[in-house]
Amino acid sequence: MQEKEYILRVQDLKTDFKVGRKTVHAVNGVTFDVRRGKTLCIVGESGCGKSVTAHSIMQLLPPNGMIAGGSIDYYTPSGACETLSDYKRNGSRIRAIRGKEISMIFQDPMSTLNPVYTVGSQIMEMLKKHEKVDRAEGKARIIRLLGELGIPNPEIRYDQYPHEFSGGMKQRIMIAIAMICNPTLLIADEPTTALDVTIQAQILDLIRRMQKNYGTSVILITHNMGIVVEVADDVAVMYMGRVVEFGSVEQIFANPMHPYTKALMKSVPVLGMNKDRELTVIEGTTPDASTVFTGCEFAERCESARPECFQRFPKDTVVEAGHRVRCLLYEEGGKSNG
Amino acid sequence: MTVQKKKTSLAKRNWQKFIRNRMAVVGMIGLFIIIAACLAAPLLTPYDPTFINPGIRALSPSSEHLLGTDRLGRDIFARILYGGRWSIMIGVVAAMGANLLGAALGCISGYYGGKVDSVLVSIQEMLSIFPGTLINMLCIGFMGKSVRNLLLIFTFTGWPGVMRIVRGRILSLKQEPYVESCRANGIGGTSIMFHHLLPNTLGPIIVNSTMNVAGYILSEAALSYLGLGVPDNVPTWGNIINAAKRLDIVQTLPMLWIAPAAAICLFVLSINFFGDGLRDALDPSSK
């Protein structure tokens, strides 16, 4: 039964942005599944469409953005299927799901908390919107959660304002806001990019622990391959609005197939690596988002590109159960030529 | 070695942003027509704006005198065209003076900080808490009515606004890495202020100047209407209205005040639309 196994299935999602008179295909046919209780990492560089994908799921696109095609199916714990992509962006259905069943953590904890309200009241607002609880009970629940998130003296911290918290502590508050209604799916958009490494380690630990305790499924968006290895069960590598490779973390790291994935892994310095080795360079720059392609988007920067790569779009090829790659090298007959 | 020069300019990009804004383009065309008409006044009308002809006093509009004549027999249409030259000149020169002074003082104040800054800010605050019209009237009273005095007064009372804008921009700009990079190379303060920082505040200064042109034309009109502006023999839009102070003239010779008032309104509206458009086009954060 796929409804039991999957919590979210994204099929051929297309999201467009209107910029001036031009239309930019920020997400261009993205397909992936999130398994129940597991973590999916979406990796890619800036402008690859990873954040737009997350915002599409939540129907939180800016006014000039719209879902142009494909479907996002969300399977509730009771087994019902809700097609999120069909909901109106501010309709009551999506608002009931947003924050309650699917919630989101953003990159910058400094600007996502409102400085004029205490953190307690900001968490309480979220709780009251989705559940009928009285104040005392709600407060007790929030304080319990804050304690669980490793915030010292939660009773005192409850009545403090965001400026009294450090960056790491603010990100914990954001997690508290996201987790207070026990969501089934948590989307974390670069949750640690603005934080120091030692604080990043704390926050990643925390997300993992919350996931274990509550069985939450997680979509974690990042550009850091190291974080992927640490937290992911499944990985989707994105480039120019498309998923170029999808598989389990073992499949992706033990046997990366797409040239972009391979290059991405070899282009970052790894702690303790041989210093005489040159880093692998991905030549050129990421193309402009409005570029019109006739073939593989990565071809012009790809070392293994062949003339064919510029002429037609590659198809998704399943190379192994659960591992698919979008590259001509692996299409049928491709191997014999290459 | 020859290096091929391929120049792409910021001005071109800003121009494209500007012409996308309809109202701004309308404003620009309006400005162009008014200014061109004033400059081409001798071609558009055969009459001398200051020539007194008692034979044709207080005529109604006709094909000969498009807007009629005033009580001294001067052609109103001619007076408005020639008066526009003076009004616009006063507005533009005063705005340029006030903005140049304000920008220079703002630069110095923001970049050096410390004592210089405190003194300049205090003077600026004192000037801005005083009602502007009152200062202008007092100064005219002391210095006497003349175009030159009016320009001087507008310049010396008008700089605080620009100075505040420029000082604020400089305060944030001087933290930018490209400025630090100059300082690390030992480049002097004058060059950093006027070569690196000031061009980055040009957008707000230009916008403020256009708005000030409108403001000074209105101020001049107001002062002249009160009889404290330019001398009576200089036909400015304000002076023309001044002639229409008496109630019987307001009723019997409506063109004497409707026409200059309309000219002022059109010019000020045009320049405000134009200024708004400029502000949006020159704002680097807008696309």
Binding site: Q200, D205, M225, V229, V268, E283, T286 | M1, V3, G186
Partner: protein, 334 residues
Amino acid sequence: MAENREILLSIRHLTMEYQPNRRLFEKKKPSVKAVSDVSLDIYSGETFGVVGESGCGKTTLGKCIVRLLKPTEGELLFRDDEEMKDLLKLDRKTSFALRRKIQIVFQDPYASLNPVHTIREAFDEPMRVHGIGGGSREKRTQMIADALKRVNLQPEYMYRYPHEFSGGQRQRICVAKALVMEPKLIICDEPVSALDVSIQAQLLNLMRRLQRETGVTFFFIAHDLSVVQYMSDRIAVMYLGNIVELADSEALYAHPMHPYTQALLSAVPVPVLHEKKERIVLKGDVPSPMNPPTGCPFHPRCAHCMERCKREKPILQEDMEGHLVACHLYREKE
């Protein structure tokens, strides 16, 4: 590399205190010690890495070296014509002349170039004031073209404005701009942390190549330990304005001694499967520099904290050949 061991810059007891601005009728605020008593030597031709978390004083240290900030105390001895000169006690002329020898590359490539000037103008002014190219405009243009070619950019790009370049290109332009001054030392303040992963490698490889070609010395400041470790010959770890450990890059990775270094190393996520190492998760946050802890600055978060650590500040001492650490754990005999 550092074989010849000729000291290029010797930092002696450098302290930088910020005195917050006091306004009328305001109580005196405590000063903030961003860098406290830092001493280190940088050898010619090496890459010296400084690593630490935000607020540890690494950027302040870099800005003191290029003299954007005036240190409260200490000496900066810089080798010029076989002579060590204190940069902080020079006459105006020498001080100005030495500025071209120490250049800086900033973190944010979008703010490092003035948007109203073309690349040529940005390069030209510092060259002109320092008399590079002998006052000839053609010569300078030629040198700018060469510098751009060196960082793999086309010479005709010099007539373009910064907004026409991507972040990676701009950062290469900034490196070229530093190089054209023919410096001895380039301070690189987080040069890659604002860039995308695939672009980082381009810049890092480029910097290594340029060092091989010109023998320039890099002072490489970053928060990303993997990048610093890859780039540097020696590394100083900073915490709350103090150097807590200083060692060869390999030694620091293989045998980190200070508990903070150990935690920092263990916290870096490594993109290799099944390399599940024992992670030391530090409790709490970095204390505010306005109100630093007594004794060892790290003691409130340290797992090995002893009574002595709360009272007495450990000094940076050589423990093994070239491996310095400031920690009481290694001085128990005393």
